[in-house]
């Protein structure tokens, strides 16, 4: 279990650093989704399933959708064929 925890936390740190240093906003949002998912698994390991459910629903689901929509709203997604 300790190995799993270390792997998850390492991945979490890598995600946080990559989230900061990625050049594209879309990539940032996708990395943020991965970050939230790993975070929810860590909450589950730390025996707080309430937070795990909330993190998985809000952090990985709703927030990412809202961020994608915000990117679309400010026309930050370039290269759409429909436009």
């Amino acid at each position: 279990m300790i190995i799993l925890e270390f792997a998850l936390i390492t991945f979490l740190i890598v995600c946080a650093i990559a989230f900061t240093f990625s050049k594209r906003l879309l990539t940032s949002v996708i990395i943020f989704m991965a970050y939230s998912l790993i975070m929810s698994i860590i909450w589950l390991i730390m025996e707080s399933p309430d937070l795990a459910i909330t993190e998985a629903a809000v952090g990985a689901g709703v927030t990412s959708v809202l961020l994608f929509l915000a990117l679309k709203k400010v026309n930050a997604l370039k290269g759409k064929k429909d436009e």
Binding site: L25, T27, L71, A76, L77, K78, G79, K80, K81, D82
Partner: protein, 105 residues
């Protein structure tokens, strides 16, 4: 003991499939190839690992829960992969280097 060995074989096979998926995602360059690898191996690896877990846990209420997880994964994962591929095909350019590039640094 025999049950444990069978379950281990299933789980190791599932892990192998997932490892192959990860390798393929890194190996291939084009988006559609990568999505092909990721989508296929997702379903198969989930099936193998969950069957291993079912055998390991024995027949109980947990088996039903694992079956539900499998069903959810089988419904959601291909749909998500299909949507990603569709977005790729829609936004395809001739110089397909930077689809969905985001302005701003």
């Amino acid at each position: 003991m025999i049950r444990f060995i069978i379950a281990a074989v299933f789980i190791v096979a599932g892990i192998f499939v997932f490892a192959a998926a990860a390798f393929g995602v890194f190996k291939f360059k084009y988006v559609l190839n990568r999505m092909h690898v990721a989508a296929k191996c997702d379903s198969l690896g989930a099936l193998l690992i969950l069957i291993g877990c079912m055998i390991l846990g024995g027949f109980s209420f947990m088996t039903l829960k694992l079956l539900l997880i499998l069903l959810i994964l089988w419904v959601t994962s291909p749909v998500a992969a299909h949507l990603i591929v569709k977005a790729e095909v829609k936004t395809q350019n001739e110089d397909d280097s930077d689809e969905y590039e985001v302005i701003g640094k």
